[in-house]
Structures are given as structure tokens and as C-alpha cells.
């Protein structure tokens, strides 16, 4: 279990996160909604260990080493634009597994994400959606027990959104805990075991998926916009 205890974050005296408390169970998919500037990305970075909270702590993920136990995909894709798709994947696989990447597995994964035909193209020549698919592919194939995704559907068309939803849902079977932020209510609710709503740095709502419907989330998102 991953436990967030009294997480507070302040940027230049401006509080961004206020007393966040949250437990994430093994194999749970938790989807976090919220307006722009509500503090979702900051919270995800703190949970991932790449940013320190001003106060509070994250339990269940001892910081040393965080390697191979957690993976964070932020707004950026974490790709080397001058390397080809295949070179990026191989580099990533070697970082995580140590050995040479299995070509059959690489081919299977790239095909599933619609990138096999573009394997020898440099990443900078790919569309935004393709780059995002590649980033999601490397995130979802690593064996981390905890995956943190910040707006994973950015740039994806309808077909690929569905595929990525299926891929994320399949993580539940291997016991991977997933924390996601998204503005896409439909996709978010398809994924969620539980839903949270972050408003001006405060976690104002935590509900099981079955206890909330799409309309309620949409109403909350249409509500008062953060200043």
C-alpha cells in the first residue's frame, strides 16, 4: 500500500497542496480529476519522489532506491528525439532489465502500439500522438509496481485512447497500482477503481467508482475555475 500523509507543498509562500491524505491499494487504479492549476501535477511529482513536499510524507515507497518499483510519465514523453523509435526502446529496456532487449517482445509491443512500421524513424519525425504512444509503451512494459501517469491521453486519437485504456486496465491483473490524472471524464471513469477531485490544492472528494457518475464529475469540472 502507498500512503500519502499530510502532503503540503508551497511555492514561494503560495500553498499549492494542502493536507493531502490518501491510501492507494495494491493493484488499484486511482483517477484524479481537477481544474487546471489545482495541483495535480505537483502531487504526482511528489508521489513519484522527484519533488519533495514542504511538509508530509509518502509511505510505502522508500526513496532509496525507488528504481524499478515506480515509474512516472509526466507531460513530457522522456524520449531522445535524435534516436530512432527502436533505439529509444532498446535503451529503455536495457536500463530496466540490464540485458539485451528481446527482439520478439519489442516487435510485439511496438506492433501493439502501432509503431513497428516507424521503428527506424527518428523520434523527432513522429507526430505528437505517436510520441505519446511510444512513451506510454515504455511506461506500461516496465515491471514497476506503481505507475504514475499525468494526462496520459494527450494527443491520442479515439482509437488509441481505447487501446491505452485497455492496456492500463490490464495492469490491474499483475497487481500494479496506478495513479492517473486526466481531464477526460469518460476514459478516467472507465479506468477508475476510485476517483478523487483536487480543488485548489485540497482533495475535496474521494469516492469509489460505483458511488459517482460521469455527470457529477462533469458538473464539478464545470464548477468554479481556479484563480
Amino acid at each position: 500500500m502507498i500512503r500519502l500523509i499530510d502532503i503540503n507543498k508551497t511555492y514561494s509562500l503560495r500553498p499549492v497542496l494542502k493536507d493531502i491524505n490518501l491510501d492507494l491499494g495494491v493493484g488499484e487504479i486511482f483517477v484524479l480529476f481537477g481544474h487546471n492549476g489545482a495541483g495535480k501535477t505537483t502531487l504526482l511529482k511528489i508521489v513519484s519522489g522527484i519533488m519533495s513536499p514542504t511538509r508530509g510524507r509518502v509511505e510505502g515507497l522508500e526513496k532509496e532506491p525507488i528504481c524499478n518499483r515506480i515509474f512516472y510519465l509526466g507531460h513530457n514523453n522522456g524520449l531522445y528525439s535524435e534516436l530512432t523509435v527502436l533505439e529509444n526502446v532498446r535503451f529503455f529496456q536495457r536500463l530496466f532489465s540490464g540485458g539485451n532487449g528481446d527482439n520478439t517482445i519489442i516487435k510485439k509491443n511496438l506492433s501493439e502500439f502501432g509503431l513497428w512500421q516507424r521503428r527506424n524513424d527518428r523520434v523527432r519525425s513522429l507526430s505528437q500522438g505517436m510520441k505519446r504512444r511510444l512513451a506510454l509503451m515504455k511506461t506500461l512494459i516496465c515491471d514497476s509496481g506503481f505507475i504514475v501517469l499525468d494526462e496520459p491521453f494527450t494527443g491520442l486519437d479515439l482509437r488509441w485512447k481505447d487501446t491505452i485504456v485497455e492496456k492500463i486496465l490490464s495492469l490491474r491483473q499483475r497487481g500494479t497500482t496506478v495513479l492517473i490524472t486526466t481531464h477526460l471524464v469518460e476514459e478516467g471513469l472507465r479506468l477508475a477503481d476510485r476517483v478523487g477531485f483536487l480543488e485548489e490544492g485540497k482533495l475535496t472528494l474521494i469516492r469509489k467508482r460505483t458511488e459517482i457518475d460521469e455527470l457529477q464529475i462533469r458538473e464539478m469540472l464545470k464548477g468554479e475555475v481556479c484563480s
Partner: protein, 226 residues
């Protein structure tokens, strides 16, 4: 064994990126040529005074050209947050830092070789070629010091809004001992000096290299955190 394999993996990737992008090396070599031309115009360098000026000119060029290249190799990691792959992998921050130092060292040494060739051609000073085996030790030790400090601060500065201004401001004062050691040992090797050997300066370079490396290995982990 895993430590060495991880270092090799990152260095190989950096070389591939450099071969494709040609950003770090080309900009370093171009600046070194440009600085040599500026020195040639600003200082009256002739056969009589070239041996007195060579070590100072070379090390100033190495320092300034080096900063540019090191900024570029860190940028490739910061760009698109690619370094986060390493943070979340099983590769230790120490091996990642060491790999980046070695990549920068390699690029620095290549730039230095080009600079030496340019210098010989521009100023007709062939003594540099014949002294190259002896010069290789201060060049290696000095470049290693540059590379360690440069790698650390280029990672810090590329994450900052004023990165390109901050990097030389942090880098240059800190590498003064390396510059002094490099200039002095190069001068002794090229011109000789009664009763003086480069050994003392090489020891100073070695001590500072180890000092920089120890401190940087500790600090690097904190730089990666936002």
C-alpha cells in the same frame, strides 16, 4: 560489473546522439577555432613569443569551448525529461553521473585535439605535436576536472531559466585550480623550467579531480530532484 555496463550504455547513447545531432562537438570545435583567430588578432603571436603564450591560450580555449559542449549534453537529458527514465530505472545516479562525465570528457578530448591541430597550423608551432605524449597526462587530468564540474553544473543550469548565464558563472571560478594546474604543467612540459617538473602540478590536478568527483557524486542526486 553492472556499474560498468550501465556506464557503457549511457556513454554509447550519448555518442549516438552526438553522431546524429552533431551539436556538442561541432559547436566546441567551431568556438575553439574562432577563439584561436581572436587570440591571433588580439595578441601579436610570433615565433619568438608563441612558446610563452601557448599554454595559457590553449587552456582558456579548452575552458570556454568546453562549457558550451557540456551544456549541450545535459540539455539532451533535460529536453523532454529523458533523464527521468534513468531516475526510475535500476541504474544508480552515481553510474549515470559518471557516464555523463565520461561522455563529456571524450568530447572535450576530441575538441582539444582539434584545437592543438588548429594551433599548430595557425601559428606554425610543431613543438606541440612532438610534446603530445607528455601533454596527454595534464590534458587528461585537467579535462577530467572540467568534465566533472561541468557535468554537475550543466545539469543544474539546464533546469534553470537563466541556465546559459549561470553555467559559466558557476563553472569558471570553480575550475580555476584546474586552469592553473593545466597551464603550469603544460608550460613546464613545453618550455622546461630549471629545477621544476610537472609532477607537482599533476598531483594538484589529481587532488582537485578527486575532490570535485567526491563532492559532485554526493550533490548530483539532489540536482536531479526538482
Amino acid at each position: 560489473m553492472r556499474f560498468a555496463a550501465n556506464i557503457f550504455l549511457v556513454v554509447k547513447k550519448d555518442l549516438l546522439l552526438e553522431l546524429r545531432g552533431k551539436e556538442a562537438l561541432s559547436i566546441m570545435i567551431f568556438l575553439s577555432l574562432l577563439l584561436l583567430v581572436v587570440f591571433n588578432l588580439a595578441v601579436d603571436i610570433n615565433r619568438d613569443n608563441v612558446s610563452e603564450l601557448v599554454s595559457g591560450i590553449l587552456w582558456v580555449i579548452f575552458a570556454f569551448s568546453g562549457i558550451l559542449g557540456m551544456g549541450k549534453t545535459s540539455l539532451s537529458e533535460r529536453d523532454d525529461d529523458a533523464y527521468l527514465n534513468v531516475v526510475f530505472s535500476s541504474v544508480s545516479m552515481e553510474s549515470f553521473f559518471f557516464a555523463k562525465v565520461l561522455s563529456n570528457l571524450l568530447f572535450l578530448m576530441i575538441m582539444e585535439l582539434f584545437t592543438i591541430v588548429f594551433f599548430v597550423v595557425l601559428f606554425d608551432y610543431e613543438r606541440l605535436f612532438s610534446a603530445l605524449p607528455g601533454l596527454s597526462i595534464p590534458l587528461l587530468l585537467g579535462s577530467f576536472g572540467f568534465s566533472v564540474v561541468g557535468t554537475l553544473f550543466s545539469f543544474l543550469s539546464t533546469g534553470s531559466r537563466f541556465g546559459e548565464i549561470i553555467l559559466p558563472l558557476l563553472f569558471l571560478p570553480l575550475v580555476v585550480p584546474v586552469l592553473i594546474g593545466g597551464v603550469s604543467s603544460t608550460d613546464i612540459i613545453l618550455n622546461g623550467s630549471a629545477g621544476d617538473t610537472p609532477g607537482k602540478w599533476l598531483k594538484i590536478l589529481l587532488v582537485f579531480d578527486m575532490l570535485y568527483l567526491s563532492i559532485s557524486l554526493i550533490l548530483f542526486r539532489y540536482l536531479v530532484e526538482e
